[in-house]
């Protein structure tokens, strides 16, 4: 950095700031971890652009088709940690055709080529093959963290390659993936000399795991803090496992099998009483509460009275998720109602994220919840039966959800349900300034609903809509908004092919994907403008139209 040391003469005037060497800026930017801040800095001038991009260590590509892997690697050559996300969120519920895309292979290949020092890789909703995992194991000598969330396409053979090849692996985090069981004892492929694991999560694996191999692994990894197992490990073996591995502070016991016995749980508790171990149990209806509980995920079998107990004991609760035990049981035998949520919102001051499935709701309850918890950042309410009104007044739930968005000024994610008219969208558009993700299903009465959202919601990034009476007009009228957003999904609405064509012509930097029923894979070109389309996925991209679409997906 030039001539160091002091000089006899007074130092020459500092070079003008824009002539400072890049290294100075790179150092300055290292204090800006947030990608948005770095992005803003990069936009200031050429030298900052150059300094920032060359020193960027963490890269998050929220849509794998927004840019090509080559672009990413060229632009940010020093990346050590990359995260790439693929399919639209509604893929989780089977709405996206299989073979839609989101292959991880091109990203792994580009990374292997351009980021040899890569340490962390994270894929979400992508197709990751065993070959990808083999390539990862072979290409990055200091690979440390592999996180796969909601991915598919790989098997335990791929995991074996990771176990055998990644000498410095610290984290192997597998969340909600579909993993084929090849009956390969992948766990035993971690060499005896391997001791670096800090986090191991294989809760989504369906096959069996050898308890002895697991014990040996866990005992020699003295830094192991988080262990999340699948349900192949019986509870009574867990206690002995934990005795051998007291360094674990977070344990996930996976899903419970039908023959769960409450007294086994007590045995487990006794095994590490007083150690401050946080046990997270999923899908338990006989729950054990720890006042330190921060995330609580449970089935509706907990019922209102159970939630009342949670409310009074867990005042550090930050996130609550309540799932339906029998989603298709219209009779609703389980007594979980709006009461449970009201109680929790009243008594848990740190509660900021909720996912709640229930069968009935009132505006009054929602208004109370909004008043109790203005600090919500994520509010997802799913009233199981579409179009369900306030069960007491029979009114739409517009007032309730409006109260939520007006009160919770920091709300970044919202899912609405129940009977809703266009009015609620007017409120959301006007008040939900920080909202980034909005999910709408079976709601609204006209184009106005969509128009309110697209013309408001200043921070909107992801919008996903299904089965709503929204048509062409609001989409075309707000075309420019779509370029400020990451993506838009609309299925079973009232959109025509003509509007999609118009949108694509008007907005060249958007990719407009139309999906039709795979059984009727007729080329779109032959269809008239008036044809209604079933599924639309629009996203901004600098990479141009992708070339890996299956037959049922066409880019307009």
């Amino acid at each position: 950095m030039g001539r160091g040391g002091s000089r006899a003469a007074p130092a020459a005037a500092m070079p003008p700031w824009h002539a400072l060497p890049d290294e100075v800026w790179e150092h300055a930017f290292s204090f800006l971890p947030a990608a948005s801040d770095r992005g803003a800095a990069a936009g200031a001038c050429r030298s900052w652009l150059r300094a920032e991009r060359r020193s960027r260590r963490r890269l998050s590509v929220a849509n794998c088709y927004a840019a090509s892997p080559q672009d990413a690697v060229e632009r940010f050559p020093a990346v050590r940690a990359a995260e790439v996300k693929g399919k639209p969120h509604f893929a989780d519920f089977g709405l996206v055709p299989p073979a839609w895309g989101a292959a991880a292979a091109p990203w792994v290949a580009a990374a292997a080529d351009g980021w040899p020092l890569l340490e962390e890789l994270s894929f979400k909703r992508m197709v990751v093959t065993d070959e990808c995992l083999e390539m990862i194991a072979a290409s990055f000598r200091n690979f440390q963290v592999l996180r796969l969330v909601s991915c598919e396409g790989f098997s335990t053979a791929g995991l074996a390659a990771i176990a055998a090849g990644c000498r410095n692996l610290r984290e192997l985090d597998l969340q909600e993936n579909e993993i084929e069981d090849c009956s390969i004892h992948w766990l035993s492929l971690f060499p005896e000399s391997f001791t670096s694991l800090v986090t191991l999560n294989f809760s989504c694996l369906e096959g069996d795991v050898n308890i002895n191999v697991l014990e040996r692994l866990v005992t020699r990894c003295r830094n192991l803090k988080t262990l999340k197992l699948n349900n192949s490990i019986p509870l009574d073996k867990l206690a002995s496992l934990l005795h051998k591995a007291p360094q674990i502070v977070e344990l996930g016991t996976g899903r419970f099998s039908a023959d769960y016995h409450p007294n086994l749980f007590e045995k487990l508790e006794a095994a590490f009483a007083g150690d401050g171990l946080a046990v997270s149990v999923s899908h338990l209806h006989k729950f054990h509460l720890n006042i330190e509980t921060v995330n609580f995920q449970v089935m509706d079998l907990i019922e209102d009275h159970g939630l009342a107990v949670v409310a009074s004991s867990c005042n550090k609760l930050q996130e609550l998720r309540v799932f339906p035990s029998d989603p298709f049981d219209a009779a609703g035998q389980v007594s979980l109602t709006e009461r449970g949520l009201v109680d929790v919102s009243a008594s848990c001051p740190m509660l900021e994220s909720v996912l709640y499935f229930c069968r009935r709701m009132t505006n009054e309850a929602l208004i109370a919840i909004a008043k109790n918890r203005p600090n919500f950042t994520c509010f997802r309410l799913c009233i199981i039966e579409p179009h369900t009104p306030d069960y007491i007044t029979h009114q739409p739930l517009d007032a309730g959800f409006s109260a939520i968005v007006e009160s919770c000024k920091g709300l970044t994610r919202l899912s609405v349900s129940g009977l809703l008219t266009d009015h609620v969208f007017k409120s959301i558009g006007a008040h939900a300034d920080r909202l980034e993700m909005l999910s709408i299903a079976f709601a609204g009465n006209s184009d106005l609903g969509l128009h309110y959202i697209l013309s408001g919601c200043k921070s909107l990034k992801k919008l996903e809509i299904r089965d709503c009476p929204f048509g062409d007009k609001p989409l075309l009228a707000n075309a420019a908004k779509l370029e400020t957003m990451r993506s838009l999904w609309m299925s079973s609405c009232s959109l025509t092919l003509g509007a999609c064509r118009q949108l694509a012509r008007k907005m060249p930097r958007l990719s407009v994907e139309v999906m039709n029923d795979p059984e009727r894979a007729c080329p779109l070109d032959s269809l008239a403008d008036e044809t209604l389309i079933d599924k639309l996925y629009v996203y901004r991209t600098i990479a141009g139209p992708r070339s890996d679409t299956p037959a049922c997906v066409q880019i307009v």
């Binding site: 509604f90 989780d92 519920f93 089977g94 709405l95 299989p98 073979a99 197709v127 093959t129 909601s150 396409g153 909600e176 579909e178 084929e180 989504c204 899903r255 419970f256 099998s257 039908a258 899908h283 089935m299 079998l301 799932f323 339906p324 035990s325 989603p327 298709f328 219209a330 009779a331 499935f357 799913c382 039966e385 579409p386 179009h387 369900t388 009104p389 899912s415 009977l419 299903a441 079976f442 009465n445 006209s446 299904r466 089965d467 709503c468 009476p469 079973s492 009232s494 039709n516 029923d517 795979p518 059984e519 009727r520 269809l527 008239a528 008036e530 044809t531 209604l532 299956p550 037959a551």
Partner: protein, 254 residues
């Protein structure tokens, strides 16, 4: 206004379109009233289910029942059509869940499929009123098993409760893996081994025969079609489509 060919486009034959238009609209009867504005705009008043291929029923099929006829959008539909649908519904409720009549909207409620299976497995046994009922009705709502095919890059999952027999399952699998050029082979018409013959598939690309196998509760790989359907669904843990030549030696040893 929706001209007929649009219905075709979204997967309905013209004949089914009429019936489908009287499909149950989701929601409790009497909830939303027709608002003049919407009708005038030519936009469907409320969303209808857009059936995919086979006409799927409204979500509230089970509880709305007789009020199915009160469809607001069915301006042009006569009572006859509504009555016909009521009848259809009654019939379908009586049958074990046929794929066309399953009271389920695709992807709703928004729960991950693997989670659905988890919950099905982790619930305590449901309270059953009497044995007769227990035998007739399925104990859980769905039963997802993985299906893998040799050479295919992805796994799929099917809900076995949706099908009534081997033929339906076979057809569904053919559709599912159609992108890998699998076609239903010709049934040899051996009446005694009807189940098995239905499950012969052909890899159309190179003409090799594919065979459908499954892993049962004991961990053994068996040929699909050997046992009665109900027994099969009770014991099947997962499915695999493999080359005929690899399936030598599989079979029942009962």
């Amino acid at each position: 206004m929706a001209p007929p060919q649009e219905r075709d486009y979204i997967g309905l034959s013209p004949a089914a379109a009429a019936a489908a238009a009287t499909e149950l609209r989701l929601g409790l009867p009497g909830t939303e009233e027709a608002e003049g504005g919407e009708e005038a705009a030519g936009v469907p008043l409320t969303l209808e289910l857009l059936p995919k291929g086979s006409a799927k029923r409204g979500f509230t099929d089970a509880i709305v029942g007789g009020s199915a006829g009160q469809l607001l959008d069915a301006a042009a539909r006569g009572k006859a059509a509504a009555a016909e649908e009521d009848e259809e519904e009654e019939e379908e409720k009586k049958k074990a869940q046929a794929p066309a009549a399953k009271a389920q909207v695709v992807g709703w409620p928004p729960i991950r499929s693997y989670r659905k299976n988890t919950m099905a497995m982790s619930l305590p046994a449901p309270k059953i009123k009497d044995d007769v009922e227990a035998k007739q009705t399925p104990t859980q709502g769905c039963l997802y098993v993985k299906v893998s095919m040799d050479g295919a890059p992805y796994l799929r999952k099917v809900d076995l409760k949706v099908y009534n027999n081997y033929k339906e399952l076979s057809l569904a699998l053919e559709k599912m893996f159609s992108s890998f050029t699998v076609g239903l082979g010709k049934s040899n018409g051996k009446s005694g081994r009807e189940g098995l013959a239905d499950c012969r598939l052909t890899d159309l690309k190179n003409g090799t025969e594919l065979v459908l196998t499954y892993e049962d509760k004991d961990g053994d790989w068996m040929l699909v079609g050997d046992v009665p359907w109900q027994m099969f669904t009770d014991s099947c843990r997962r499915l695999r489509i493999m080359k005929g030549s690899d399936a030598v030696g599989l079979g029942k040893y009962r």
